[in-house]
Symmetry: D2
Subunit: 365 residues, 4 copies
């Protein structure tokens, strides 16, 4: 991987009149750079320009850097998470004004199309996950956010903005794709396969529904220890190949009510198939790059559900209220902090999580 | 009120061969007695005889004693809650055997009728709430429980049986009639009108769903203080007539998502009508003795729901698991303990809750 | 009631350049007029001007004319239903262009506020039912529709536009407030109290779910005969005071699963209370002008739900598809047709439905 | 396949005192026989002996005859569907008495276990699908039905009993596993892959919910013609490999909301994966003998659900009411009738459906 940092003048004053800005740019498979780029402009009446205060790095950004996301072309500013301050608004924006502090959803929602009308913002016909993908993103000093009225969320005075960065993507992903799709219930049993940031986000939000058991399964003892601190009632290191046996033994051979897949490979999905109870649900959160084997010869009569979902971020307002009332502490997920000038270090840290024990890293713009 | 205690021989040995037993009996409005009664016998193949270990007194028992419950005739042994040990089983009972420790549901369910088939056990065509009402109840040394297989629940070894007495009626009532019917959600706002035992049971179980706010409203400062200890985020003494104003101010004039009525008089129901938000729910738990005014001229266009429910106890297994996993501590509700010999004192204490600060009182048989 | 028709020049050419137009105007309690009014202009970027092709009269318009709707002040052009052709659009409108044929929802939805985000458009903080109420409506040659992108619906080429007028209000009202809130199910029993247009709309849309019985209750034999033609399996004229007895006898004393109140007075609401089965739902559709007596002393333990709702019109797209696939024929509701010039006759006909047998009257602009 | 008919005396009188009876017996892979067998006896207090009036053959019976169902051992009387008359009851049976006409569910439900308590009768810990599988079945003159009170359903006087045979298995299977799991809605689009009896049962019951489109996909033109008669709005013969293309074209490249898999092989399941719309559901009904490829690399972000289910027959009462109210005509599925003496012919006819055009065949005992 070739890391390139573009030279930038040392003495520039940074304010909203600045015409260029620092931005983290994907330069093709294995190539990335912190560059000087033109500050974004309003291009549609529903746009806002947001001055980024804090952003973060997502596992998906690592996929992009490997060249695995064809919709994201070289030259793109990455990043689809963050909090900031409204800098400018288009003429059709009514919910915000310059100076407002906002949370940026990773999903842009027009609010009008057939999918947005049923709150499936992830499939907005002109939006969805486009930030830091098919349009420039948030790992920069400024970002243009389309459909501002329905894609930004006001941050109340006094809120802990750093904590709220976790509401752009990771917490709604764990909650919507894992916990809600998985129908976690009071007294139910839950297994989460994968104790990375998104699995841990599912772990934190699963506790909203007071399940009796949350079993965390991973190969990394450090992450399992984190999971126990975050509320897992049991942790299983699956390296010895006995995870299925252990879960079935724990549950009287019945399996668990909700299995959340938070890895995205065939082996972990098949593990889920083996531990789901009759009547249970496998909620897939993982991003898969290849097909998996679905053992319908065993599952056709087991009354199970399997769900998939790209996060809609429709629960951001609900999550805001749970943070405000201290039902959850999103900062638990934050392990490291960097200035935007050192974002390449941030990527190094985040990309070597096994060694650095990084979960989410905050980038201050 | 005339309290009568029947004389009983001092030297009897109490065991399962005993042909008489102590029992608390309703003797007509204002009259009650601890009497010597024949030990119950199996009368249907699906019956069990349970030796009571611990029971408790319900607000409904006080209603019966006043003569307010016409289905309950003088001579009836009261009580519809408790834990015990199986003494005998009828020939059709397959789920239990003598010596098993069981929880007794306040609702007897045949498991076969149209209502039982949709889990509406409260309306079982030959069961429902009959224990301590139309048949003899649990405030005695032994009780005959109809439909044992579907009305008793096995107590796992090592469980705290005293805590489980709360699962016979009070916790499922608060949870099913209040919390589930009221659709409490993560981040939502809840108001509970009435901080007596059933309101507090709703308060404890509402927290399974992590609402942002739980506002407790009552006239008794002691009970409000208890509510705060049990997790209420706000408490309002409505004595000054400003409860509606306070709640609306707290919620930006919107009202609350879920209002749980746990008193049962017109004034408190109308209070609920005034504080429910558009799109919200009023979940009635209170036992009403007269009609209330429903202000449809204000509510017809507010998109609200009003629900009523006699507890089905269908959530007992779920509640068992939440207790087992320490998501809830039912013993918080227990304030006093008495021997069955002193059940008249127990009634005095429970009947004067304003003075004694009694919530639930345990009777040891 | 004083009917006033304003004089208008005979030779005017009517086209989109016209600066005045004909409009039906509320002139204070008991007063109405067909007047010449300025053609509306775009006042917000999200507005559209729609040239009305067909509109209709709602029972609510009669309430306004009596002076019962305080939000509607004299001088207001009435009407909140209709189909038309886009004449002009504001700069922020992206879903429509001039010439497009559209259906107008009776509810204006900004698509952005907390209520719109949960599809409760009726409570849109800046919209809701404002057309022909707090802003000028559709009983005119042109209407300004706010939030065009989220309040108008495209009419596909070749559709029967007259039939679609029924989708502006009456069909979604019967369907959302009555049928969906009432949880009509295959094989269930339904009673609809009130066989006026909205009751009949509930009757037509209830059949989407294949209930076993639909019992129609009214005082008007003609309307009951219409109901039988529209699919009611039983009709009951409640004039003899025996409706409750008849329904209970028909249902083995159990009552009906879904009761839809489509009148809006205390007597009919109390009838609903008497015929709802344990576990059933009373779905209120009627517009109530006073409180009703809710007999909680009988209902507190019946496990029922009562719902209220102002139509959200969120089901318009679904209803479009049911019309397109001939699952429902909305034209069954249309009994009379008038030109806009004769709208005063239309009001006479609609206002004397008992005599004229009018259900819905079409006004051609 | 070896067909064997056991000799039987010509002059026997058949009545309830008979100690032997005719029965259709599985004799090992490829072997079957109509034999004389002892009449069944009550073996548990909850049993009933039912004199079979009419039964039928299921596709599963063909699987058993091939040796594909290991739980079904040689010597077993097959059959899990039928109507009959109660001959004897065990001492714990309270809902029926000799002489009652009953429908037999294909699933035996104890009504007590954890699965029965949540209406998941298919997974009853001591029941489930055992009739004609692990215990003797209904293709005989008499059958012993376990858990009679919760596994038999009373047939009202005057009902068409032949039609009701379709409620033992085929209609609830299509309805529960296909239509309910598939969340068919008014105005929605449905595709059913497989136009055999179970696919057609899904087609008939899907119409309870008034979808806009029901697309039937099969390789057999005759069955597709039947499907059109039964209400399919479109039929597609997938032999040319263009079914996916056709469905996507019909739906504007979006796909269908509900896809019902009613075949049970990898190719048809993968077809379902290709035509499900974002937000849609694949409801598996087919009995699968091997794993399928689940293309999560395409589906992980499509917000879909996949469901599996062994029929619970929990909707039998609902289906009874839809038949009684003529919302559905189950007899449409019946193409042939045989006497029990000719059951081998019935199997020949049913087993060669492509040639005989058989759907369901009635066997009169």
């Amino acid at each position: 991987m070739t890391l390139t940092t573009m030279p930038r003048p040392a003495t520039r004053t940074r304010d909203t009149a600045t015409v260029t800005m620092k931005a983290f740019v994907y330069r093709g498979p294995g190539k990335k750079a912190l560059e000087e780029r033109p500050k974004p402009e309003i291009t549609a009446a529903t746009d806002a320009i947001v001055k980024i205060v804090k952003t973060t790095i997502c596992g998906t950004d690592l996929h992009i850097l490997k060249g695995d996301v064809p919709t994201c072309q070289p030259g793109r500013i990455l990043g689809h998470e963050g909090v900031g301050i409204i800098d400018k608004i288009g003429p059709a924006v009514t919910a915000f004004k310059p100076g407002d502090h906002v949370l940026i959803s990773c999903v842009s929602a027009c609010g009008k199309c057939v999918y947005c009308r049923k709150q499936m913002y992830s499939h907005c016909t002109t939006g969805g996950w486009i930030l830091g993908n098919s349009i420039d993103g948030t790992q920069a000093e400024f970002v243009r956010t389309p459909y501002a009225d329905t894609s930004l969320y006001p941050i109340p005075e006094g809120a802990d903005e750093e904590a709220l960065v976790m509401l752009s993507d990771i917490l709604p992903t764990g909650f919507e794709c894992g916990v809600l799709n998985g129908k976690v219930q009071p007294g139910s049993t839950v297994a989460i396969v994968g104790s990375g940031p998104v699995g841990l986000a599912a772990l934190l939000t699963a506790q909203f529904f007071s399940p009796a058991e949350i079993i965390m399964i991973d190969l990394d003892d450090n992450r399992l220890e984190v999971a126990r601190r975050f509320g897992a009632t049991t942790s299983i290191n699956s390296a010895d190949g006995k995870a299925v046996e252990t879960v079935l033994k724990m549950t009287g051979e019945r399996g668990v009510d909700t299995v959340i897949e938070a890895v995205g490979i065939p082996a972990t999905f098949e593990l889920c198939e083996k531990i789901v109870a009759p009547g249970g649900t496998i909620a897939n959160v993982g991003v898969h790059g290849q097909k998996v084997a679905l053992h319908l010869e065993r599952l056709w009569d087991r009354n199970i559900s399997i769900t998939t979902r790209l996060v809609d971020t429709v629960t951001i307002p609900m999550l805001f209220r749970t943070v405000g009332s201290h039902r959850i502490d999103p900062k638990l997920l934050i392990t490291h902090r960097f200035k935007l000038d050192h974002i390449l270090d941030a990527y190094e840290t985040f990309g070597n999580a096994a060694k650095t024990k990084a979960l989410k890293v905050i980038i201050e713009a």
